[in-house]
Symmetry: C2
Subunit: 684 residues, 2 copies
């Protein structure tokens, strides 16, 4: 006899899962399976040393999975597939963000820097040991005094032709390398970024491979290591400080792709302009941002998976029925708390897939034009800034939506928040990244902004842009039809029109950028100080314009995948759900900036008032499908590992219900005083 499905028209999570998992689904599955290995999970409690040791031990699971070898050239046994590696690697967040970051330092940053900045001999010398995890290494860029402003690092590497060595030096305390993963405990070597000096000339920041500990783990002469101690999260990662006192480094340890020093001290580089050279070098390190974007999406999904499953079981307060309490997920407010975040997770996940494609094209060599690189860098900066913010907000909302149970460490939500917290400020502080995106928009809008030095953070961004040929963000003219679309009567159906949503989102970006350009134009004729001050008076608008642009890009990724599924025609129910997700994401963005759309006459008042009602209805419809929508994330109990997400709550409720059912049947079951009074009143 065939089992009857209780809910007809239930969505098939596999269909939506295939959409979300995208091109590198197999790598994702491999990542998830490896992440399910109990050895990859941090102990629930322990000293810093115990947590670090467990994390270090788990790093080999990542290399054993075979993922870390994928990006290597074929000559070294790799497949030159970069997105494939990143897609699988991101899933390690489900095991433990500490493991993801520790492995990211080792394979993405340390090995990645050797691969992307080194020559073939250097690859042969270090790369195999690095990707296999035999040589544990650090990525020593940030200093106490300079995080975001990398060009101003204080560490120096001065070439001495008489010995054929560099002298690596930390000239003052603020130049100490800080927050360096693998530094406090495990690292035997480090890729150190320093001002390269030879023949009395400072050629700017370059990277060198520097041994920092002997095989026993004792710091080498001249290397001072300090432990950062306890952090707010990522307790399995041994962050620390590194300082160098005239440490000798062989000339051959300078990673030479963008700058080499001959034995006699002569400097050479394939890129003449020092600025362009610097930004090209940094550009090769974009993988860190790409994978943080994906990791943030994984964390966001995981939190929603837990909270939605709990909200589907947990009941509180009797409602329509006197004997059965109402499920949390049936409360409108609960739907309004979780469903827009669920839609956002879909949008961010699909936007990340777009980013992975940009990344793969550039790094596989399929299209590593300047234009492709710039698009990639802009996407990576903007997407990472919004997805890490969204992950934190989502985890927090999910934690609160689970009440006291959400605060228990075993249910993982608070730990996820603590671990993900720093994603908002490392690999590029989100505020700095958004300015980078905003500046890019300005420069696209008007060529005259190319060469302006605005001062401040803008100087960094300005310099970067000035060194690049500029390519358009493809924004112009996209919102042209807006007047027609919006002045036509906008019924609910029209508000849910994708064309209207896109027009509103795109027009806002364009109008904001045009306004900024006009306001900032006088800066071209000002002194640096005045220009900087003018720029600063519009800094907030610039960041907001960047956010608006990234939101548009994310919406477009979601919209494109929705149309693909609709056009394929094979899964109408899932396509319909994805359309609701697209609409909820779009309308949430439009509602968030509704005063703007109103102030600039983009939306009639009467129509604007319908949005909230439409959002309510979309939330209710998605809540009805919510269990399938989170099942599509592809996680099982071994990735979630949160007791409240499984069925303990349902089982307890069933036990309580059964108790009351039996009790009521007993003759001596106490009657409520309230009931007695009601009866007395009736008699009265």
């Amino acid at each position: 006899m065939e089992g009857r499905r209780v809910e007809t028209n239930a969505l098939d999570p596999a269909v939506l899962g295939a959409v979300l998992d995208g091109t590198w689904a197999a790598a994702r599955r491999r990542g998830r399976e490896t992440a399910a290995d109990p050895r990859a999970h941090l102990p629930a409690e322990g000293t810093l040393e115990e947590l670090r040791a467990a994390t270090t031990a788990a790093v080999s699971l990542v290399s054993d999975s075979g993922l870390t070898r994928l990006p290597l050239p074929e000559s070294m046994g790799g497949r030159n597939t970069h997105a494939e590696y990143v897609a699988g690697f991101e899933e390690f967040v489900t095991a433990s963000p500490s493991l993801q970051i520790k492995a990211g330092v080792q394979f993405g940053l340390f090995a990645g820097a050797i691969q992307h900045l080194g020559n073939e001999e250097q690859h042969a010398k270090w790369l195999d040991d690095a990707v296999s995890g035999r040589l544990l290494g650090c990525f020593a860029m940030t200093e106490i005094g300079h995080g975001s402003d990398v060009a101003e690092l204080g560490t120096t590497a001065t070439y001495e032709p008489e010995t054929g060595e560099f002298s690596l030096h930390t000239p003052f305390r603020a130049a100490t390398k800080e927050y360096i993963g693998n530094a406090a405990r495990d690292g035997r070597a480090a890729v150190v970024f320093a001002q390269l000096v030879t023949r009395g000339v400072n050629h700017g920041v370059h990277a060198l491979v520097v041994p920092i500990r002997d095989e026993d783990g004792t710091p080498l002469p001249g290397v001072t290591v300090e432990d950062d101690g306890k952090k707010g999260g990522l307790l399995g990662v041994d962050n620390g400080r590194l300082a160098f006192d005239a440490v000798r480094v062989p000339r051959e340890n300078l990673l030479t792709r963008y700058g080499a020093v001959a034995a006699d001290g002569e400097y050479s580089s394939p890129i003449e302009s020092p600025g362009r050279r610097f930004f090209t070098m940094l550009g090769t390190l974009v993988q860190g941002r790409v994978s943080l974007d994906g990791a943030a999406v994984v964390a966001q999904k995981l939190a929603l998976d837990i909270a939605v499953r709990y909200a589907g079981q947990r009941r509180q307060f009797a409602s329509a029925s006197p004997v059965e309490e109402t499920r949390l997920l049936d409360y409108q407010r609960h739907q309004r708390r979780l469903m827009p975040l669920l839609a956002e997770a879909y949008a961010h996940g699909l936007a990340h897939e777009t980013l992975l494609h940009s990344f793969e094209a550039v790094f596989s060599g399929e299209d590593d034009s300047d234009e492709a690189r710039q698009v990639l860098e802009t996407q990576a900066a903007g997407f990472k800034a919004l997805s890490t913010r969204a992950a934190l907000d989502t985890i927090q909302e999910c934690r609160e939506a689970c009440g006291g149970a959400g605060f228990m460490a075993e249910n993982r939500l608070v730990g996820l928040h603590a671990d993900l917290d720093v994603y908002a400020t490392f690999e590029g502080d989100n505020t700095v990244l958004l300015q980078l995106v905003g500046k890019r928009l300005l420069q696209d809008y008007a060529a005259e902004f190319k060469d302006i030095d605005f001062g401040g953070a803008a100087r960094f961004l300005g310099a970067q842009a000035a060194e690049h040929t500029l390519y358009r963000t493809g924004l112009a003219n996209v919102g042209r039809a807006i007047g027609d679309l919006v002045t036509a009567p906008v019924k609910e159906k029209r508000i849910r029109s994708g064309k209207v949503q896109e027009a509103l989102l795109a027009d806002r970006v364009e109008t904001m950028v045009a306004g900024l350009a006009q306001a900032l134009r006088p800066a071209a004729k000002m002194s640096t100080a005045d220009g900087a001050a003018l720029f600063n008076r519009h800094q907030n608008e610039l960041v907001e314009a960047a956010i608006a642009y990234v939101e548009l890009l994310k919406w477009r990724s979601l919209n494109a995948e929705m149309h693909r599924l609709e056009d394929a025609g094979r899964a109408p129910a899932e396509a319909k759900a994805l359309r609701r997700i697209r609409d909820l994401y779009g309308l949430t963005l439009i509602q968030r900036h509704l005063s703007w759309h109103l102030m600039y006459g983009r939306m009639p008042m009467a129509r604007a008032r319908l949005i909230d009602e439409t959002v309510n209805r979309l939330c209710a419809k998605l809540a009805a499908d919510a269990q399938e929508l989170v099942a599509a994330f592809g996680y099982g109990p071994q990735q979630r590992r949160a007791p409240i997400a499984e069925d303990a709550e349902s089982i307890r409720q069933a036990e309580a219900r059964e108790y009351y059912r039996r009790a009521r049947a007993q003759a001596d079951w106490p009657v409520d005083e309230k009931e007695l009074r009601r009866r007395a009143e009736k008699r009265g």
Copy 2:
């Protein structure tokens, strides 16, 4: 020779500090001083057992401070001053939120329940041991199955006249007491809330004092204790689960203020209606919410103190000057991130002072009318919901504004977030509390809502209201003059008018409530199920209306204190700063809901566009005074204990500057490749 002040017109933090510290300033100072004692600080690292032991040891510092005795009646050596105790007690958050909560369980909840629910003999028997910390106790209300819906607790206390004892019983797993502070390790007794059954009648939830462990700490027969283990924060608090298997409790242990059982089993109560009795009993426990509101404000201030001090020192990216980088606090975006939160902290702090006055009036007996109690309960619910949310958002923004340094445990921000996290859902889940406020607004608006059973969460609220005589929230007519105010030409000065701000905020509440009332009116004639469904379709609006109302109340508290300082006329500079704070708080609220004000025609478009610019200017002005504005919080290094808030960063910068100054003076200082190229181009 007298030192010259570098900045003239600097604000005097003492003046603003006196405003913030309010009526119970002396108690606050005592709290802060005690909290500065190193014994009150948790070790940086340690096992759960070590952190718990340290916290337990520190509890005696709280009682030794003399604060915990203040609320006792004069006959027991107290002063019957309740707000004085709470004001001092809140400051223990600066020592450690674990200590604040552990002490709150002991003195506020355990001792408080005995005081407010017990009779004089019971006071004589337990209260002195409780307030001195000799008898460590739990407050066992919440169960796994029922947190917010206290009326539905499963635990039973059945009176047996043959033995003169109650039999306390946990009938099923979901009825296990859960998240109970002091349960896992320290508690010797517990105030247990259970359904009181005697002579075959269930009289609803009552509280009993129940011994749970012997002097050695072994659980007593029939008492099962489980440890909640690691939580997301508050690691010093030993939360656990308590289950009872027919545990014998003497009749005299029932706290009898609102319900007693005679030896023969006859039940009696001074309050006839079971519903009214229940809510009156719960009402006496409002102190928990009052002190969480204040504790959240303390945490918010502490986070801002740290982040503003750091932002005043930390520099990144050269701007106007080529040799000196720009301070974080001089960046507009940084100002926009921190200054509205600073204004909010002032508003929430002064609103809390209002709440303390309501609390003092009721609990001292000065005015314990039903009306005063209802106002107190509504304020406590609403203020706590917004201040705990604000604390979390502020701590997170401050953490990110401090970059990587903000993520180090030693700088406390991540720890504060983890600890404060649960404040959003305990002592009343914020969403449930806001519904309570919203329901109150509805019932004030129209008497017909008094008796409707809306079902769901509303049933609880409805029942509560039905048992009370209703008093008006004082909202009606407050926004009447709005048309005149806003249709007059609103220049910037007008937007900064307090009357305009109040009118906009108040009118929004009234319009929302009126709209809700109209939408919900048909519920009166519906079945319970249909009424519940209708109510649920407007739940989100109800919560939003409640938030709007609480924002108005908080704005009014700030506004009143500002006028008091202005009217006193003795501190014009500080009064001017407080006016800016009031305006920034008011405009931030208006801007947050700007689309509403526009959609409902409350503000002309052209004027609305000026708000953002005004906010920018207010932020810049407040940033210039920010160091004094946080100094007014009254914390020193011993309360902050965050290295980045002190002068390490300035010292490092001075060292680096000195290094570069000397280096540039040397003949062999390397020249930049960029500079060489510029020179070459010039020679060209």
